[in-house]
Structure formats: structure tokens, C-alpha cells
């Protein structure tokens, strides 16, 4: 793709998504505690340069959709003993997500 071109957004607000557990090299900014977990898209943040490109000094790539995804704390931690409604919101790029299977 050309510089600044937009990678199409595959998801929208309300979609249930799963964070991919990508076992590849590179600057994937999904902390381990959300990998493989399912959450819901709560906000579309816009298009930004891919951290994987930026980490190697490449600012000439396409821009990717970024979303805020919400996870229930009890889904992230099996022993979470506080509120059922406690949630964690984090930003995840489109290509690090897939449709949730659950």
C-alpha cells in the first residue's frame, strides 16, 4: 500500500473481538494479559501509522484503524474478586484483532 493510505476498518463499535496471540517478531503493542482475550469495541479512534513500522523507522507506510476495546476484568483475570462490571479499556490496532469466537 502507498504512504498514508488507509487500511480498511474491519470492525465497528459494538463488535465482539479477540486479541490475536501473534507469535511474530516486531513491535506488537498488545500486552500479554490481553492476548487471546475477547472484548468489545467501544470506540473507533482513527487511522494511525503502524507501531511495527515505526519501530524500525518506517514512517512511509499505510495507516491502520485503531480501536478502543473494553474487556471485563473478570475475563482477564480468573481470580478477579471485585465487581462484575469492572472493565479495562485499551487501544488495539485492527490487524491485531479477529472476530471473537465466543
Amino acid at each position: 500500500m502507498n504512504r498514508g493510505e488507509r487500511v480498511p476498518a474491519r470492525f465497528e463499535v459494538g463488535d465482539k473481538v479477540q486479541v490475536l496471540d501473534l507469535n511474530i517478531e516486531g513491535h506488537i503493542r498488545t500486552p500479554s494479559y490481553i492476548r487471546g482475550k475477547s472484548g468489545k469495541i467501544i470506540q473507533f479512534c482513527g487511522f494511525f501509522l503502524n507501531p511495527e513500522d515505526l519501530s524500525v523507522g518506517n514512517t512511509g507506510g499505510p495507516v491502520y484503524p485503531l480501536y478502543r476495546v473494553s474487556f471485563a476484568m473478570k475475563d482477564l483475570w480468573s481470580d478477579y474478586d471485585r465487581g462484575e462490571d469492572d472493565e479495562l479499556c485499551i487501544e488495539v490496532y485492527d490487524h491485531w484483532l479477529d472476530t471473537s469466537k465466543t
Binding site: R29, T30, P31, Y33, C45, G46, F48, P51, L66, R68, M73, L76, W77, R82, G83, D85, D86, E87, L88, C89, I90, E91, V92, Y93
Partner: protein
């Protein structure tokens, strides 16, 4: 030398004391000395840049909070677009976008960057050393209620915690609940009540009349 720069007392930026950081500082100092000696940059330019980085203090964030408390229409606009809201007050947000998250009687917000130390520096200045410590970054997303208690904040059981891990392009600012007993105060007086820690979400703001913590 960068570490001789005169500035307000605050905790050192690096909380971890391991060999890697020490070496990095030595390299930085050597590089700086070389660049200055070769006339590529001046010591004055370095001082200016440090001042620019350190200039934003929490007063910018406090100003935003105070206006949101005083003006409900502004609050709505701020929540819809934090960067534009700040710009209305003449405050330039340097980061890609500012997300203002509002505390309510039902929800308490807490901000962390687990991967590094992302923080709305252009409006809050440099983060406190505990914010960039590994302990906070690991524990905030694991046991937020325990962290809050360590900061002296005990939330009601039914109150929901909403955590924000700012791991990408947004930066987060907590809009604390306006404390009671502040009806007569003007914006300047309101801004004086707002603390840095309340804008990160580890504390709330006590009513000015009360002396005990909430």
C-alpha cells in the same frame, strides 16, 4: 550537563536503578558534550528544550478540569473531543488525541501505561516516578482496588472501576468529581483544588471544608 539543570524538586524520572540506565546516562552525557563541542547545538538550546519539556505543569490540566466543572456545555464538548476542548482554553495538546474520562458516582477511572509510560505530558508535565515504575504498571491492571487503597482511596463496593491502558495513540485525563462545598468558588479557586493524582485517577478530590480524607 543535563543533570545540573536547575528545576523544581521532583522525584527522578527513572525509578529503576539498574546498570542499563547508568550506562545510558553516560552515553547521553558524552553525546551531548560532543555535539556542543562541535558547535552543532549550544548548551543554551539544550536548556531551552528541557524547559519546554518541563514547563507544562499540572496547572494546565487543572484549568481544564475547573472549566469542565463550571461549564456543563464545555464539559460535554471536552468529553467528545479532549484535544479541541483543551484548545478552546488556549492549551495545545501535543499528543495525537486526548481522551477525557469522567468520574461519576457510579464509575471511577484509573489510567496506566503498562508497556511504557505514556502520559498526557503536554498538559500534565512529567509523570511521577511511581507512575513509570514497573510495580504500578503491572499491578494497576491486576489489582486496581488494592493500588487505590495504597493511595488512601477506598471505593464503595458497588462502584465500578474503569481502567485505561494507554498503550497507543490516545492519552487519558481523568475528570474527577467536583467535591461538595465548592459552589461559591470561581474557576481559579476550583483549579487550585485539582491535584495531579486525581487526574491520573489514584485519588479523588476532598471537599475543601473537610480535613479527613474521603
Amino acid at each position: 550537563m543535563m543533570n545540573e539543570h536547575k528545576h523544581d524538586d521532583h522525584a527522578p524520572l527513572v525509578a529503576e536503578d539498574d546498570a542499563g540506565n547508568l550506562e545510558g546516562q553516560q552515553i547521553t552525557n558524552a553525546l551531548q558534550a560532543l555535539l556542543v563541542r562541535k558547535g552543532l547545538i549550544s548548551a543554551g538550546e539544550i536548556t531551552l528544550e528541557i524547559q519546554k519539556i518541563e514547563a507544562p505543569g499540572t496547572h494546565l490540566g487543572a484549568k481544564i478540569i475547573a472549566r469542565a466543572w463550571a461549564d456543563d456545555d464545555y464539559r460535554q464538548r471536552l468529553l467528545a473531543n479532549g484535544k479541541n476542548g483543551a484548545a478552546e482554553l488556549g492549551i495545545k495538546v501535543g499528543e495525537a488525541q486526548l481522551e477525557v474520562v469522567e468520574n461519576t458516582p457510579e464509575v471511577h477511572n484509573l489510567v496506566v501505561c503498562t508497556l511504557c509510560s505514556c502520559y498526557p505530558r503536554s498538559i500534565l508535565g512529567q509523570p511521577p516516578s511511581w507512575y513509570i515504575s514497573k510495580a504500578y504498571r503491572a499491578r494497576a491492571v491486576r489489582e486496581p482496588a488494592a493500588i487505590l487503597e495504597e493511595f488512601g482511596l477506598v471505593l464503595a463496593k458497588g462502584k465500578k472501576i474503569r481502567l485505561h491502558d494507554s498503550n497507543a495513540d490516545l492519552r487519558y485525563l481523568v475528570l474527577p468529581e467536583r467535591p461538595s462545598g465548592t459552589d461559591g468558588l470561581d474557576e481559579e479557586q476550583l483549579a487550585a483544588l485539582v491535584t495531579r493524582d486525581s487526574m491520573i485517577g489514584v485519588t479523588t478530590i476532598a471537599s475543601p471544608q473537610k480535613t479527613e480524607s474521603n
